[in-house]
């Protein structure tokens, strides 16, 4: 029997994005159980969500025009992150989206950087990244050319105004026939082991389905009822457990980057969208549940998909947004679900593969988050084995060890290593065959080409205005 009825539990962004994706790509009837309350469906309830460029892939698959989305939801664009105080030097570093520099012959740019430094030179990678240069000058328009311009090395995400985004998704999903019912699951009834039959809500309603998505965030209304449910706590490596949010109207143009600053006891993020600035403070000190704070625990559930119940977003894993991973993890989970949509109600092979990929992805993303704190948090326990290997391989060779199901690619890792003042002891031996002057000339050329390209971009606000005009 094919799956015909899907029940989604949770009323937040994760739930509505799931509803839209499944409504657009399957022929199933979809019921969304809106559980109300704050939207912690992604894990942590933020007002502005910084997305990674990869989220665009799911948006494209669902025919969402990101420019229209930004214009209509009060969102803006993101080109990376400014990091202060994360390394020993205390300097500010920029982690851009997209590529940095350009190879010279067979030698990768980061090896050229290391060679320049070995000879006493200084290099700041942000000077050789289109995204970083554009972010500094406040200029932006998405690149849609054929890949021949240096602008194609720039990638961008969004600073999503979460309320606006949720409304947008809800609208689109309802237009595609998703129905909503309000209430909180009180009882979960099983047909057989790990096969949910129906959910009884606080309102007395009974909602039946063939397949259930738990998008209820850390409440895990369904996932926590599955057999073998276990929560793997990451607090030993990621001890923050308290988030304070304040949001204020903004009067200046939104910066094209998030600013994250390390503290002795946690960290802080400033992020803007069209009309708002949000300040988040993460710490491990309070956890008192005081007003204006949100208590959380970093970690994941052992198996996101059990039987006919799949946990997505904060229900599957909570990872503080130091690396802006929240929406990425939901978007890739949904792409994966679409690729592995069960061919029948009884099938289980899809869950096996889904869990394999997801766990791998979550652990890699977790390790990237943990890496942020290796310089500031000295009381931390030994790092996960894989992260230790990544660190030692990078320090020894200047090469980034990558695994299956990565969220972050070579330049993301290198830029973070740089922000932490972690530099390799050696570089590509082939770089020694290139004359120092040739490298210097290459660096100048790359920077000149990039500056010229960036100066051709409009100020971000002009671009947003033009898109609003299109939308209107």
């Amino acid at each position: 029997m094919p799956i015909e009825r899907i029940v989604i539990v949770g009323g937040g962004v994760a739930a509505w994005l799931s509803a839209l994706a499944l409504a657009a790509k399957t022929s199933c009837a979809i019921v969304l159980v809106d559980t109300g309350g704050i939207d912690d469906s992604l894990g942590l309830p933020v007002a502005i969500e910084a997305t990674l460029p990869s989220v665009a892939e799911l948006h494209a698959r669902l025919d969402i025009d990101e420019d229209q989305l930004a214009a209509q939801t009060g969102s803006s664009y993101g080109l990376g992150r400014a990091l202060s105080n994360w390394g020993e030097s205390g300097a500010v570093a920029f982690n851009p989206h997209g590529e940095v520099g350009a190879n010279l012959g067979p030698v990768a740019f980061h090896h050229l950087m290391a060679r320049v430094r070995a000879e006493g030179g200084t290099v700041n990678l942000a000077n050789y990244s289109v995204a970083a240069l554009a972010a500094q000058t406040g200029r932006f328009a998405p690149y849609r050319g054929d890949g021949r311009s240096v602008l194609s090395t720039m990638a961008h995400g969004l600073h999503l105004h979460v309320d606006g985004y949720r409304d947008y998704l809800q609208n689109a999903a309802m237009q595609r026939g998703v129905s909503v019912i309000e209430g909180v699951p009180e009882e979960v009834h099983f047909k057989s082991n790990d096969r949910i039959d129906c959910v009884r809500l606080s309102t007395g309603h009974i909602v039946e389905g063939d397949f259930f998505l738990d998008c209820s965030g850390p409440a895990r209304h369904l996932a926590s009822k599955m057999s073998g449910f276990a929560f793997e706590d990451w607090s030993a490596w990621l001890p923050n457990n308290d988030m304070r949010v304040s949001i204020t109207p903004s009067t200046s143009p939104p910066p094209l980057y998030a600013h994250i600053e390390a503290h002795d006891d946690g960290w802080q993020r400033f992020l803007s969208c069209q009309d708002w600035v949000e300040e988040l403070v993460f710490s491990r000190s309070a956890g008192t549940g005081a007003a204006g704070t949100y208590a959380f625990t970093n970690g994941r559930i052992a198996l996101p998909w059990t039987g006919n119940c799949l946990a997505i977003g904060g229900a599957a894993a909570v990872l503080e947004p130091v690396a802006s991973t929240q929406l990425h993890l939901v978007a890739t989970a949904l792409s994966r679900l679409l690729d592995l949509f069960p061919h029948s109600r009884e099938s289980s092979v899809e869950a096996t593969e889904y869990n394999r990929q997801t766990v791998e992805q979550l652990e890699n993303a977790r390790d990237y988050a943990i890496l942020h704190f290796v310089r500031t948090d000295r009381s931390a326990p030994p790092l996960p084995e894989r992260l230790t290997h990544r660190l030692s391989a990078y320090e020894a060779s200047g090469r980034v060890a990558l695994y299956d199901e990565e969220t972050f690619e070579t330049w993301d890792w290198i830029a973070l290593f740089e922000a932490l003042d972690i530099t390799p002891r050696r570089y590509d031996v082939v770089a020694n065959g290139i004359a120092g002057e040739a490298i210097a000339a290459h660096f100048e050329r790359v920077r000149a080409v990039m500056l010229k390209a960036v100066s051709s971009l409009p100020p971000q606000l002009s671009y947003l205005q033009s898109q609003k005009a299109v939308a209107a």
């Binding site: 022929s27 290391a114 070995a118 690729d339 090469r399 060890a401 050696r426």
Partner: protein, 502 residues
């Protein structure tokens, strides 16, 4: 920043691995103060079974600056569009694993998923009808792929079949021109540093000794340094890949020049057929538990398309992989690193990959263990994933006509492979990964070619009406057929580009 660089490199063994390493190092490290030496003995034959390649070899040749037509003429090379597998899924079956994908995804759902749906509902045509390189191979035709990504003519890649002995010679000339010193001789002794266990020097039968900082072991199966001196250990994979011997012999080409390699399954192994410009290379890979050497040789000779041109060459091997391919100051490249039978022409690719990785993790005098650790992790993954792909060829069979096939059909296989096969059989999903040379299209070719057909539809694909699919399929099939007929014959094309041996 960097600690003292290494200065001397000794490559132990010539052959394809040794000379590819020497040529690449001499080119990539040119202008730097490295002394590169290579020791080989004319008395020790090279194995030279890896005469068929995969498309990656072109990047190696390009990097070194080879002119393709010149290289082809000097190595008597032919073009290769894929491998034909005969009698694997069932006796009488034939499929081609091409260098190119089958069709394109439709409505966000992979082509093979639609194909499987049509196959279940109406039968339809074999998947190879939707592959231009397969159609071209079957027609004996070849031309370079087009640059325009929108053109059907851009949907394939190509590799070569060449005389590995001539390729080694070609590389030797190149390497010697760039300062590599060749020493003729056999190694009779290896001196280790007592404390560290690092190889200090090797002694040759003429009495001379060569010391070095880095030793590259290209000595073939024996693993003179990696095993003999460093005792790295060997992971035996014979329970999954039981073939352990081969017998090889060339013959003259009968019939038109084919742009593909052929692997024909036998009662206890398989026979390769590799067409070169001047001859055909043939060999029978077999399992000595199930067939005698004499019977294996007879099987080979009986199937030759013309009289043998040389004496039969007997080989023995143990499938598996060295436990650590880089141990202390010894890096094993080629058959010394591991042996995977040449069923998917992986030998030369694995050499090329190892050379690239050695350059990426090139050591200095600090001998940071993190370098070898990451190198070994990456190479292990590569070997294991090739291994799984090879096991699939044996295991995914319906053949029950000989004890050999009964064994491989029913043997326990690695869990990772069981999962992959289940995912494809039940749902048409190809389990993929970051490192590993065989991509989705290769797995699909072998699965479908060996009758592992998805049993269930991709539910997302059902949104497209069958009639619409059929129209698209018919168009693609006719386009592939027409495009293949429009290409030059293989022999003509080689002549046209001036790549024929003089």
């Amino acid at each position: 920043m960097p600690s003292r660089p290494i200065e001397r490199i000794v490559i132990v063994g010539g052959g394809t691995a040794g000379w590819m390493t020497a040529a690449a190092l001499s080119h990539m490290l040119s202008g730097q103060k490295y002394a590169i030496h290579l020791i080989e003995s004319e008395e020790i034959g090279t194995v030279g079974v890896g005469e068929a390649t995969v498309p990656h070899i072109r990047f190696f040749n390009q990097k070194l600056g080879f002119d393709e037509a010149d290289f082809m003429a000097k190595t008597k090379a032919t073009f290769k569009l894929g491998i034909e597998f005969c009698n694997w899924g069932r006796s009488g079956d034939s499929y081609i694993h091409p260098f190119g994908a089958f069709g394109e995804s439709i409505g966000g759902v992979a082509f093979h998923q639609h194909w499987a749906r049509m196959h279940r509902s109406t039968g339809g045509h074999p998947i190879e009808d939707y592959s231009l390189p397969v159609m071209a191979a079957r027609a004996g035709r070849f031309s370079y792929p087009a640059d325009d990504p929108d053109s059907l003519l851009s949907t394939y890649s190509y590799a070569f079949q060449f005389d590995a002995g001539l390729y080694a010679k070609y590389l030797r000339a190149y390497a010697e021109e760039r300062g590599v010193t060749r020493h003729e001789g056999k190694i009779i002794d290896v001196a280790l540093e007592s404390e560290s266990g690092f190889v200090q020097s090797v002694k040759m039968d003429n009495g001379a000794s060569l010391s070095a900082d880095l030793f590259v072991d290209c000595s073939g199966f024996r693993g003179l340094l990696i095993e003999g001196a460093s005792q790295s250990g060997y992971e035996n994979w014979q329970h999954w890949l039981p073939c352990d011997r081969a017998v090889a012999v060339p013959c003259a080409t009968a019939g038109p020049l084919t742009p593909y390699t052929r692997a024909t399954a036998q009662d206890a192994g398989w026979i390769w057929r590799i067409p070169l410009q001047h001859r055909v290379g043939n060999g029978h890979v077999y399992c000595s538990n199930y067939i005698s050497d004499d019977a294996a040789a007879t099987t080979l000779v009986d199937q030759l398309e013309s009289a043998p041109l040389a004496k039969l060459n007997q080989l023995r091997f143990v499938t598996g992989k060295r436990r650590t391919q880089w141990s202390k100051n010894v890096v094993a490249i080629g058959l010394s690193a591991g042996f995977l039978e040449p069923l998917e022409s992986t030998s030369i690719h694995l050499i090329q990959l190892a050379i690239g990785r050695l350059l990426e993790f090139f050591p200095d005098q600090s001998w940071d263990p993190a370098l070898a650790s990451e190198y070994n992790r990456l190479m292990d993954l590569e070997y294991e994933r090739v291994r799984d792909f090879l096991i699939l060829h044996y295991h995914a069979t319906e053949r029950d006509d000989t004890p050999f096939w009964n064994y491989v059909r029913t043997m326990p296989i690695p869990d990772s492979l069981t999962h992959k096969i289940n995912m494809f059989r039940e749902r048409g999903v190809v389990v993929n990964y970051r490192d590993g040379m065989f991509l989705d299209a290769s797995w699909i070719a072998v699965y479908l070619g060996q009758r592992v057909i998805p049993q269930n539809n991709d539910p997302l694909g059902e949104a497209i009406p069958e009639a619409e699919l059929k129209a698209q399929f018919d168009r693609l099939r006719s386009d592939c057929h027409l495009a293949a007929q429009g290409l030059a014959t293989h022999a003509d094309f080689i002549r046209q580009i001036g790549a024929h041996a003089h």
